[in-house]
């Protein structure tokens, strides 16, 4: 495994740690490999303090589509995870590319509709986001 492959496999953990330490941008370099990662603004509230939210109806849920046809890689997020629009919530491997799946709205992310390693189509719905409030 190359430096970049290792790093890409650990990307969900890295994103998590950056969030916890309020780091929005990181540049890493090792030999021929380099990675620059910029995260969207973090959610204003602490996820751990967010009270569980009950879903009255699914009508207003916002779908989170797969950016491409490929293999879904989970970020390990659970269904009560609060997200902000633009936040990375998983990845899709499309050939040599590992593409981020980003939240399409602020709210509470539902469970992944596809298991880790599952085949997904172009713009298949991977999650639903329930609006807060």
């Amino acid at each position: 495994m190359t430096f970049l492959e290792d790093l890409l496999n650990d990307l969900p953990k890295l994103v998590d740690r950056m969030r916890r330490h309020d780091v929005r941008h990181v540049s890493l370099k090792n030999g021929a490999g380099a990675l620059a990662l910029t995260l969207p603004p973090a959610p204003t509230s602490n996820p751990e303090q967010t009270p569980p939210i009950s879903y009255p109806a699914k009508a207003k849920d916002t779908p989170v589509p797969s950016p491409e046809m490929g293999v879904f890689r989970s970020n390990g997020l659970d269904e009560t995870h609060p997200v902000r629009s633009g936040e990375i919530v998983g990845f899709v491997e499309a050939g040599p590319l590992r593409l981020p799946v980003t939240a399409t709205a602020d709210g509470t992310l539902g469970p992944a509709l596809v298991g880790d390693g599952g085949v997904v189509g172009y713009h298949d719905v991977l999650f639903r986001i329930h609006p807060d409030g």
Binding site: M69, G70, V71, A94, V119, G121, Y122, H123, D124
Partner: protein, 456 residues
Amino acid sequence: MREPAVSVPRRVLIANRGEIALRITRACRLLGLHSIGLHSEADASLAHLRLVDETICIGPAAASGSYLDAARVLRAAELTNADIIHPGYGFLSENADFAEAVEQSGRTLAGPTAAIMRLMGDKISAKQQMRRSGVPCLPGTEDALPTDLSEAQTICDAIGYPLIVKAAGGGGGRGMRVVMTAADLRDAIETAREEAGRAFGNPSVYAERFLQHPRHIEMQVLADRQGNAVWLGARDCSIQRRHQKLVEEAPAIGIDPQAIAELGERCANACTLMGYTGAGTFEFLYEDGAFSFIEMNTRLQVEHPVTEMTTGIDIVREQLLIAMGEPLSFTQADIRTQGHAIECRINAEDPESFRPAPGKVQSWRAPGGPGVRIDTHLYDGYVVPPNYDSLIAKLIVHGTDRTDALNRMHAALSEMQITGIATTTPLHLRLMNEPGVREGGVSVHYLEALMRKSAP
């Protein structure tokens, strides 16, 4: 000692849409194969996707980002572990680069090899191959016309006028110019070259004698990987508009069956000589009792059902069996043709102007009765998208003879109901009563002349 287990390919990716995707799905189900339907984002509600074992959306509505995107189709094959890719017709079905990529991925394309596609895709090399195989060709240039216009003029003068300048890599009327006199030649070559370069990325053109009132006659063949090849009879596809067929029938009337049989034998032999595999069609112009090769379609044809109806052979099933490595289950001696079959292409188009008419199908009522077959992906509420070919249904009838088939077609067209969008049905109804069609044997110019005559 037990033979090592050989894995038989059983997972078929259907790399097409519409009625032909449904047709292939049915053949897969008949053979108990695992079918995988790919589709664009605009096509998630296609009829065959309810019948296949798996589906995958491969890209946006635009065909360039979905059905025509070879990399995406191949990725879909990888992700779904498909063994066989059936390309149907159109899209990637005659793309030799795609066929080569399929071969390199270790999969099987339901069709000939990439090398054969290239050989037949280039009209010059195809004609050379046909001449070697004894298939009749029009008098014309052996190679591409030289770039020097004076040299080209000398060659064309020797062929005689009228002649036609055609794109080596083309089809469908593009890169094609009819030259009535020697004075018009240079302009025709230059414009055909320019058009061919733009349309096909290959500016090479060739010239051959131009027939003024030919019929379009074509020969269906099937060839397996064991070197067996058969011909399944001729079709007459002369009712066309701008090189697009509208009505097809089998057999071709008014042509000596012995002449058809001799042509069929030559076509089957040509398949064996070049190592052709799968279904294919040799297209000819027919005038004054002579056949002249135009091109070979190295794929399934839209009009294959009329041959299925007259021979009783399921061509798509045979294609899949050939792709699975099976030998043909019948010989030439087993093939018999019976009765007469006609197909009308029902397009979502204005029947007068032929402008595409996409939109929502409010209601769809299929015709029925003895000898009536409908190949379609229509259902109530189906929305015909504007992104693709306008073919929405193929109405096929089989009668005891041609008159019976024409009558059955008229009755079936009258019974069929498609509301919400314009279709070519009124034109077909009219055609079934036209004296030229009733008599049969019209030329490829018949329909356009008829439309001109009836224009206000």
